[in-house]
Amino acid sequence: MMDIVGYGAFFLTTALIFSLITLGLNLQWGLTGLFNVGLAGFVAIGAYTSALLTTPDTVGRLGGFDMPIVIGWLGAMLVTGLAAALTGVATLRLKSDYLAITTFGVAVVVQLVALNAQKLTGGPFGIGFIPRPFAGLAETPVLFNFSNLAVVAGVTLVTYLALEHLSRSPWGRVLKALREDERAAISLGKSARFYRVQAFAVGGAIMGLAGAVQAHFIGFIAPDNYVPTLTFQVWTMLIVGGSGSNKGAILGSVLVWAIWAGSGALTSAAFPTDQQARAASLQIVAIGVMLCVILLVRPNGILGTSPRRPRWFGRKQPPAVSDQNGAAS
């Protein structure tokens, strides 16, 4: 019984960390319409930054600065936000596809740095001994799991409330206005590029925070954690939950993670050990097909707002009625 409760806490913690990433993506895509296919790279930047700041001094690697966990998390947000801002500044004056391609490249380069810059990232073996919150409770697993869950849930709640507030604030209204009708918003004197860079940076900072929280929850990071599969999972979570809605982002994350973990358990039970790697790839196929089907059949997801129209170029449809309820509904 206690095992199941413990696993439940573990499952929810993981799902809520995913929902943090999804919330960041929702700010970039759902609210602002910025396409990020390299989010695994930004999550990795956050995780590595926090790990460098908080681990004890290590021979043969930069740092280990042995700082408190909170500093690590703030540092992760700052560095990842800066990286996202730079990406945005370089590409947001161009067509939307160029941002997609550039973020894709960012993920490739971050992966490369994580693998090869041994002095900074520990190379393929990653970084271990990342301090875990409540490490003193590790003897009683249930208490440990629940205190971790409480921390992650708290961070998620604060992020959620902050994002809800932001999307209702004048700042959020400008983003929505830019998304709905860029020309009208610019004519009111709002700089499209400036606001988009801000949104992209804040979204990136949230992803970095999620990466840091996950690193401290697991206690160990390696380049393998930040492969394109992660990007793909998070996108599916957002699309299933409904882009534009913060509640949808959280709901989609828990739902898709449940499907993912469930099908993972199923395949490991149904396939012999030597076939498990193959079975795992079938799992990704299923999720990929699911993403495409949802895009075809129900592009709004479960809780999403009105479907997005093309921005920047090639507008073929007449402008639709703007959504009355706001992105948060």
Binding site: L94, D97, G105, R278
Partner: protein, 302 residues
């Protein structure tokens, strides 16, 4: 500096360039960046590999042509693989991309291509496992051609074939009716429709050409390096960078962009080290986007 990097760079550049033609055509005619293009490459290669083994099973062992590592079965198999990849691209367009395009949401199509790419790649891993495969296990002796450069017979043939293919595509785009129709659609789809161009046909031809060339590029990688389910995905960034460097919509630009990227990668391998190879495309991409976003032969968006 050893001049060998010129041969290596031209070969990598050929693979990237052939792939980038498909990327640039899809972008300029269908107006979205297709993240599944690399996986067309991998699927084409595995289709060719399957065809080769089928031919081998039917006709027994067949001696390779002259000093090359492959015989006529591979040539026949490539043609089959090209047809397969083109049709696969068409099919994917029919069941997925065309429907989303009809809704008029460009960026949703990009996302769908991302999802499709993940599914296609993992399906390959499921069918063929992630263990690398090879067309031939024989080792070719590289011939010295002076200035410290060595080249194998396979490499010479593949370089010549790339040049021939690029010439064919260029002639198709500039000298034939369908090629001119493709250019018209890429410049102004609405106007092209008004003057009676069959846009659906143009879209079909675009997918067929893109898919077939992706297959050839993949088979080149298969002959010279190895066949893996991830081989196409790893080529995605160089292909995008080449297409943007050459200027979206320009076939010669895509090939030239591919060659520049290939040479830069090979040079970087010598100067900095092989592990940073994949970063070269990113650096070039960022430089192009910052300095001249329309690329070498690009035209401003209309």
């Amino acid at each position: 500096m050893n001049l060998q990097f010129i041969v290596d760079g031209l070969l990598t550049g050929s693979m990237v360039g052939l792939g980038a033609i498909g990327v640039t055509l899809t972008y300029s005619i269908l107006r979205f960046s297709n993240f599944a293009h690399g996986d067309f490459m991998a699927w084409g290669t595995y289709a060719t590999l399957t065809a080769v083994s089928a031919i081998g099973a039917m006709f027994g062992k067949i001696a390779p042509i002259g000093p090359l590592s492959f015989g006529w079965p591979l040539i026949v198999a490539v043609v089959i693989g090209m047809a397969f990849t083109g049709l696969m691209a068409l099919l994917l367009d029919k069941i997925l991309f065309a429907r989303l395009r009809a809704k008029g949401q460009t960026i949703i199509v990009v996302m769908a291509s991302f999802g499709a790419s993940m599914a296609l790649r993992s399906l390959l891993e499921f069918i063929f496992t992630s263990r690398p495969a090879y067309f031939s296990r024989s080792i070719q002796i590289a011939m010295p051609v002076g200035y410290g450069i060595r080249i194998t017979p396979d490499q010479i043939v593949l370089l010549l074939m790339t040049a021939l293919l690029v010439l064919c595509v260029h002639l198709l785009m500039t000298r034939t009716q369908i090629g001119r129709s493709m250019q018209a659609v890429s410049q102004n789809p609405a106007l092209a429709r008004v003057v009676g161009i069959d846009v659906a046909k143009v879209v079909r031809v675009t997918w067929l050409i893109g898919g077939a060339l992706a297959c050839v590029a993949g088979v080149m990688i298969g002959i010279l390096v190895q066949i893996r389910p991830l081989m196409g995905f790893d080529m995605m960034l160089p292909m995008f960078a080449a297409a943007i460097l050459g200027g979206i919509g320009s076939v010669p630009g895509a090939v030239l962009g591919g060659l520049i990227i290939g040479l830069a990668e090979a040079g970087a391998v010598q100067l900095i080290g092989a592990e940073w190879r994949a970063a070269v495309s990113f650096v070039i991409l960022m430089a192009v986007l910052l300095v001249r976003p329309i690329g070498l032969f690009g035209v401003r968006e209309r």
